[in-house]
């Protein structure tokens, strides 16, 4: 069974097997997150914080929790991930989607399901008996092709991919000439870690890649500007022939 709906400027796709998934709860979680955090909605809580009409200390505990989580990740990544734009404006886009996915995952609970939100994936159980959920990774050089396929097995339940866009980088990179990596996929136990670190590695380049793979229990597949691949040993095993 599967369902698809649009929210937060992207598409949520939920697939499941066996007992009915709590689709209504999942939809409610994403719609609530969009209402609260969208900067495209001038009346969202985050927009009001960003324009100064709402004090951060008067904001909801949910918003402050997400902001605190984002600040924590900024510290963990040495600033490669940050909830602020270069001009200092608050922007939680980099974490809200993954945060909502984690909430949705908790609502879905155990069972066999696969949640894909705009290319980031969180799964539980397996696709069918004996077969893991397998994430096809888009080739950034030819987006009509898949680069490879990554099975999500064991504790590795989440895969997030970040990229530097052809229409200008959507992640703020530190380098003078844009991102070293065209695309970075991080596989981890939880979707927030995977998503934040994928973003941080695109932002911080090879330096962040080496630093973060050494400190976090993750596997990474990075595609550089020339289409060359770099993979951690664990990722190498996952995608090996």
């Amino acid at each position: 069974m599967h369902t698809t709906f649009e929210t937060m400027g992207t598409v949520v796709s939920l697939e499941w097997a066996g007992k009915p998934a709590r689709v209504t709860d999942v939809r409610r979680i994403f719609e609530a997150a969009d209402r609260r955090f969208s900067l495209h909605r001038p009346d969202s809580e985050l927009s009001r914080v960003a324009d100064g009409s709402l004090e951060l200390l008067d904001a909801s505990s949910e918003l402050r929790e997400v902001y605190a989580t984002a600040l924590g990740w900024r510290g963990e990544t040495g600033g490669a991930f940050t909830p602020h734009r270069p001009d200092g404006a608050l922007d939680l886009n980099g974490i809200v989607k993954a945060w909502a996915m984690a909430e949705a995952g908790r609502a879905l609970g155990d069972g066999d399901w696969c949640l894909n939100v705009g290319g980031d994936v969180l799964v539980s159980g397996q696709a069918e008996t004996g077969a893991p959920w397998v994430v096809g990774i888009v080739d950034p050089a030819d987006r009509a092709e898949l680069l490879t396929a990554v099975p999500l097995v064991g504790a590795r339940r989440a895969a997030a991919t970040s990229g530097s866009a052809e229409r200008g980088d959507h992640i703020w990179t530190r380098g003078r000439e844009g991102a070293e990596f065209a695309q970075v996929t991080v596989v981890a136990a939880d979707i927030v870690t995977a998503d934040v670190l994928a973003t941080a590695i695109v932002s911080g380049g090879a330096e962040s890649l080496d630093d973060l793979t050494g400190r976090f229990d993750v596997d990474v597949l990075a595609v550089d500007r020339n289409g060359e691949l770099r993979a951690t040993p664990g990722m190498r095993e996952l995608v090996a022939k």
């Binding site: 599967h2 697939e15 505990s61 040495g78 970040s162 866009a165 330096e207 990075a222 770099r230 993979a231």
Partner: protein, 167 residues
């Protein structure tokens, strides 16, 4: 647990929030200066080595001298000697290809607290021919960066959904 810790840190960080903006700016500025060169290949990896700070200059120099042998350099991966720095040991390896430095890898280094860090999970180059060529029939779902909300990915995913594609 994580959630509870985050909530607690909100309270703790209330006074830090405003300072956070400035700290963030400082961190960003500081890091920008260290990440010289974002190119691929040797310049990118050289930047990675250099970014470990001035203390690493000894080991960087040793790899540099390997490269300086020019066209007579043998191809292969060469480990540099372990250099003691005020912050701990530092060791790199140079990958030589066609007589040029193709890559520099940090094998051993120190973290910000001065502890030595062994790199056990480093992402190394991998040939495309080494990866499983994904057959779409084997794939449950599509992962990729979202570039625009109208992008290829959503289009593909929704097409798969409409087709009732279940992997």
């Amino acid at each position: 647990m994580r959630r509870r810790a985050a909530v607690a840190s909100v309270i703790a960080s209330a006074g830090v929030l405003i300072a956070g903006f400035q700290v963030g700016a400082a961190v960003t500025a500081g890091r920008t200066t260290t990440s010289s060169g974002t190119g691929t290949g040797s310049s990118g990896s050289t930047a990675g080595t250099g970014s470990t700070g001035s203390t690493s200059s000894g080991s960087t120099g040793s790899t540099g001298s390997t490269g300086a042998t020019g066209s007579s350099a043998k191809d292969g991966t060469f480990k540099g000697t372990t250099v003691q720095t005020p912050f701990g040991p530092m060791q790199v390896a140079a990958v030589i290809s066609g007589g040029k430095i193709a890559d520099v890898k940090v094998l051993q280094r120190t973290d910000q607290g001065g502890r030595s860090v062994q790199i056990s999970n480093q992402a190394d180059p991998m040939l495309r021919s080494e990866v499983l060529q994904a057959q779409s029939a084997n794939v449950s779902t599509i992962g990729g960066a979202t570039y625009t909300s109208e992008g290829y990915l959503q289009s593909l995913q929704s097409a798969l959904d409409q087709a009732g594609f279940t992997g």
